[in-house]
C-alpha cells in the first residue's frame, strides 16, 4: 500500500511552472529519495505535501484518501533552510515546536528528555540557542521534527552541518524510524546516502518526474553491462565476440580487467569463457552509482 501518493500535481508561480504533472508513490515503511537538481521543484512538492501551499490542480493522497488539515500533525518536516529562535532556550524551543505539532506539554517534555539523552545534549536544555554550534542546532531541529512521533517524516538535506560521527547517528536514527514502520521522504544531493538509505526514489528535473522506482532496479536498468575481473598474472589477451575490453590495469600480482559484454550474451557464458582461461580472484558486475545515474539523467535531457 502507498502511504503517500501525489497525482498529477501542477503548481504555477506567475511565469514559472514549478511542478508540471508530478505523480509520485511512496510505499509505507520505506525511505523514499526525492532527488533533483537545484530549482527542480522538490521544495515546492514538499510544501504541497505538508500543506504549506496548495497545488493548482492534482491531489495529494494519504493512505488512499485525500489529505486533510489534520494530516499535518502526522507529518514531521525538517526543511532545508531551517532556523531556531536565537534568544530562546533550547528546551523551551523544542517544547514550543512540539506543542505546535499538537502534543500536550507534559508528554512533549517526557519525549524530549528521551531524545535529548539519545543525542547526548541533555546538558544543553537550559542554554540559549545562540550558544549552540551549528551541528548542535541541527540535532535540536532533528528532534523537533520527530518528537511528535509522526508516521510521515520529510527530511530535506538532513546531513548538512553534521560531522561524519553525527551524520552516522542521524542515519541510524532514520533507519530505526523506518524499522518502526514510519515512512520517510529524504531529499538530498548526497547520492551515497541515497544508496545507503533509500528504497525508492523519484528524480525530478525541470518540474517533471523523469525517473522513478526502486533504487536497485534503477541501478540494474541503467547497468552498462560492464564487469570487473581480478585475475592472477600480469597478462590478459583473450579476445571474443562476446565482449570488448575497456581497460587493463596491473594491481600487485594481479591484473584488473574491465569488459563490456554484448547485450545478448548472458553472464554464465561470459564467466565460463574467462574462468576457463584464467585464474579468477574476483568477479563482479559493475552497477552504476546513483551519482552516475543522476548526472546522466539530468544532463541528457
Amino acid at each position: 500500500m502507498f502511504y503517500l501518493e501525489t497525482r498529477n500535481v501542477i503548481k504555477q508561480y506567475a511565469e514559472h511552472r514549478a511542478l508540471d504533472g508530478v505523480s509520485i508513490q511512496v510505499p509505507q515503511g520505506t525511505v523514499f529519495g526525492l532527488l533533483g537538481p537545484n530549482g527542480a521543484g522538490k521544495t515546492t512538492l514538499i510544501r504541497i505535501i505538508t500543506r504549506i501551499t496548495a497545488p493548482d490542480t492534482g491531489e495529494v493522497l494519504i493512505k488512499d484518501r485525500p489529505s486533510t488539515k489534520e494530516d499535518v500533525y502526522n507529518i514531521g518536516y525538517l526543511p532545508e533552510e531551517r532556523g531556531l529562535y536565537k534568544k530562546m532556550k533550547v528546551g523551551e524551543q523544542a517544547l514550543y515546536l512540539a506543542q505546535l505539532r499538537g502534543m500536550k506539554k507534559e508528554k512533549a517534555y517526557r519525549e524530549l528528555m528521551i531524545w535529548f539523552k539519545r543525542f547526548e545534549i541533555s546538558d544543553w536544555y537550559n542554554r540559549k540557542v545562540e550558544e549552540l554550534s551549528k551541528g548542535m542546532q541541527q540535532k535540536v531541529q532533528f528532534i523537533s521534527t520527530v518528537i511528535h512521533n509522526p508516521d510521515l517524516l520529510i527530511f530535506d538535506e538532513p546531513f548538512s552541518g553534521f560531522d561524519p560521527v553525527n551524520a552516522e547517528i542521524v542515519k541510524n536514527e532514520m533507519l530505526r524510524l523506518k524499522d518502526e514502520g514510519k515512512t520517510i521522504i529524504l531529499s538530498t544531493h548526497n547520492m551515497e546516502s541515497v544508496e545507503a538509505l533509500c528504497d525508492n526514489i523519484a528524480l525530478i528535473n525541470k518540474s517533471r518526474v523523469v525517473l522513478q522506482g526502486n533504487v536497485f532496479d534503477i541501478r540494474k536498468d541503467n547497468q552498462p553491462n560492464t564487469y570487473k575481473f581480478r585475475l592472477t598474472g600480469n597478462k590478459f589477451d583473450l579476445e571474443d565476440q562476446a565482449f570488448t575490453i575497456l581497460s587493463k590495469e596491473p594491481y600487485h600480482e594481479y591484473i584488473d580487467v574491465r569488459v563490456k559484454k554484448q547485450e545478448n550474451i548472458d553472464n554464465k557464458y561470459l564467466a565460463k569463457l574467462i574462468f576457463d582461461n584464467y585464474d579468477v580472484v574476483s568477479f563482479e558486475e559493475e552497477l552504476p552509482t546513483m551519482n552516475d545515474i543522476f548526472i546522466k539523467t539530468v544532463t541528457s535531457k
Binding site: 506567475a14 510544501r47 505538508t50 504549506i52 496548495a54 499535518v72 500533525y73 507529518i75 518536516y77 525538517l78 526543511p79 532545508e80 533552510e81 531551517r82 532556523g83 531556531l84 529562535y85 536565537k86 534568544k87 530562546m88 514550543y96 515546536l97 506543542q99 505546535l100 505539532r101 499538537g102 531541529q141 523537533s144
Partner: protein
C-alpha cells in the same frame, strides 16, 4: 491548546520576561515621579538651614515690617556695623539688606547684597513686605490731606486688601444642559500627552512586530514554523502577542504612576509641605489654585478618554503593525526594508505633526480631516477627544479606521504568506499586488 494561542503565548511571554522590558516598565513611572518630586525635595534641602539677613535701615521705618520666618532670620544692625558684617557674607550672614531712603518717595533706594544670587522666594518676601508698608505710607499721607474723608480712606484700604483676584473659569455646555467646569490647559496637556503616547506606542510596537517578522525570516525559523502553523496564524499571533505586551506596559505604567504619586504625596502631605509645594508652584507659574487643578482634572471625562484611547490605539496599532509585518515579510534585507518603510514613516510623522498643530485648534479643518483619515486618525483624534467632539465624528472615524485595518490586514496577511517563504530578489510593488491574488 490550539496553535494560535500557543503563538500568542510565546510572543507575549518571551517579551514580557525580557530584562529590558521589566526594567523599562518599572523605571518609567519611577522616573516620572522622580522628575516631579526631586526638584521640589532638592529646593527644600537648600532651605533647611536658617539664613541670616542683616538689615541696615537708615530710615528706621521698615525694619520692623520684615518678620523672621523659618528660613530667613532678619536682624537689624546699625550703619556703622555694616562693614563688619560685609566680611561675614557667605559665612554666618547670608546677605545685607540696605534701605537708604524713604521708599514711598524713592522706591529704588533699597538693595540686597549677597554672595550668591538671592532666591526668588526671598526677593518676593522682602518685596511684598516693603510694598505693603509703602502702600500704608501712601494711604497715611493721603489721609492727612484735608479734602479726603476718613471713610474713603478706610474703603480704599479694604479694597486694596481684598485685591481684585480675577480668574476666568472656562465652562463647557454639556448635553445634560449643565455647564461643567473645564480647563483648556488641562485638555491641552491631556490631549498632547495621549497623542505622544499613541504615537510612541504605534512606532515602538509596530517596529517590534516588524523586527520579529524580519528575524523569523532571516533566521529561517519560519520555514520550521509554517509546517505546523498557518502563516496567517503566525502573523495574527505576532500582532496580538506584541499588542498585549504594549497594553500590559501601559496598564503597569498607569497603575504604578498613580500608586507612586499617591504614595509620595501622602508622605509629603503635612501642612507645611503643602505650603512649600504651593510656594514652589507659585514661583514657576504664577498663582495656581491647587483646587482648580484638581477640579479641572476631575472635570475631564476620564473613562471616555481612556476607553477611546484603547479603541484608537488598538485600531492604529493593528493597522500599522500589519503594514510593517507585510513589508518585513516581503523584503529580505534591511536596506530594502527602509525603501518600503519610507512612505509609512512619512504618514506616521505627518500624523504626529497634524496632532501637534491640532492642539491649538482642535476643531479646525486640519484636525477634522486628519482625525477622519484612518492612517492619521488614531494619533490626531487623541488631541481632540479631551476637548469634546461630536459623537458622529468619533463614530465615523472609528468605522473608517476599523474598516481600513480589516482590509489592510487581509492584504498584509496575503503578502506575508507569500513573502515569508521567498528569498533573494527584492519584490516590486507590482509583484506584491500579484501575491494578493494567489489563493
Amino acid at each position: 491548546m490550539n496553535t494560535l494561542a500557543l503563538v500568542i503565548e510565546r510572543e507575549y511571554i518571551s517579551r514580557v520576561k525580557k530584562r529590558s522590558f521589566i526594567i523599562l516598565t518599572i523605571a518609567m513611572p519611577v522616573l516620572l515621579v522622580l522628575l516631579a518630586f526631586v526638584p521640589m525635595w532638592l529646593s527644600q534641602l537648600n532651605d533647611s538651614g536658617v539664613k541670616n539677613i542683616a538689615i541696615v535701615d537708615k530710615t528706621g521705618l521698615y525694619a520692623s515690617e520684615l518678620k523672621s520666618t523659618e528660613t530667613y532670620n532678619f536682624q537689624v544692625i546699625t550703619a556703622a556695623q555694616e562693614d563688619d558684617y560685609k566680611k561675614q557674607i557667605g559665612g554666618d550672614i547670608y546677605g545685607i539688606l540696605t534701605i537708604s531712603n524713604d521708599l514711598s518717595k524713592y522706591p529704588n533706594s533699597v538693595n540686597l547684597l549677597s554672595e550668591k544670587q538671592a532666591p526668588a522666594s526671598l526677593q518676593s518676601l522682602i518685596q511684598n513686605a516693603l510694598n505693603e508698608k509703602v502702600t500704608q505710607q501712601n494711604l497715611d499721607n493721603l489721609s492727612t490731606q484735608s479734602n479726603v474723608s476718613d471713610q474713603s480712606i478706610k474703603e480704599v484700604r479694604s479694597i486694596i486688601e481684598k485685591g481684585g483676584n480675577v480668574t476666568v473659569s472656562t465652562l463647557k455646555w454639556g448635553k445634560d444642559e449643565k455647564a461643567s467646569k473645564t480647563s483648556t490647559e488641562m485638555a491641552t496637556i491631556v490631549g498632547g500627552a495621549f497623542t505622544m503616547l499613541i504615537y510612541m506606542f504605534i512606532l515602538m510596537y509596530g517596529g517590534m512586530v516588524m523586527q520579529a517578522v524580519q528575524e523569523e525570516k532571516k533566521s529561517r525559523v519560519v520555514e520550521v514554523m509554517v509546517s505546523s502553523v498557518k502563516p496567517v496564524d503566525l502573523l495574527i499571533g505576532k500582532i496580538v502577542g506584541v499588542g498585549l505586551v504594549g497594553i500590559t506596559q501601559l496598564v503597569i505604567w498607569t497603575v504604578l504612576t498613580l500608586v507612586l504619586f499617591l504614595g509620595v504625596s501622602f508622605v509629603y502631605n503635612t501642612p507645611e509641605q503643602a505650603q512649600l509645594m504651593a510656594q514652589a508652584g507659585s514661583m514657576g507659574m504664577g498663582d495656581i489654585d491647587v483646587n482648580n487643578i484638581m477640579e479641572s482634572i476631575v472635570s475631564l471625562n476620564w473613562v471616555e478618554i481612556i476607553i477611546y484611547f484603547f479603541v484608537f490605539f488598538i485600531g492604529g496599532y493593528i493597522l500599522y503593525a500589519s503594514l510593517f509585518a507585510a513589508i518585513a515579510a516581503a523584503v529580505d534585507s534591511e536596506e530594502d526594508t527602509n525603501q518600503f518603510m519610507m512612505p509609512i514613516t512619512i504618514l506616521i510623522v505627518f500624523a504626529f505633526f497634524a496632532g501637534i498643530y491640532s492642539i491649538d485648534n482642535p476643531d479646525g479643518p486640519l484636525a477634522f480631516w486628519t482625525s477622519l483619515f484612518p492612517f492619521t486618525a488614531p494619533i490626531v483624534m487623541m488631541v481632540r477627544i479631551p476637548f469634546g467632539i461630536p459623537f458622529w465624528q468619533l463614530l465615523l472615524s472609528l468605522v473608517l479606521l476599523y474598516g481600513t485595518f480589516i482590509l489592510v490586514s487581509i492584504a498584509a496577511a496575503k503578502i506575508y504568506r507569500v513573502g515569508i517563504l521567498m528569498y533573494g530578489k527584492k519584490p516590486t510593488f507590482k509583484e506584491m499586488m500579484k501575491w494578493m491574488k494567489y489563493s
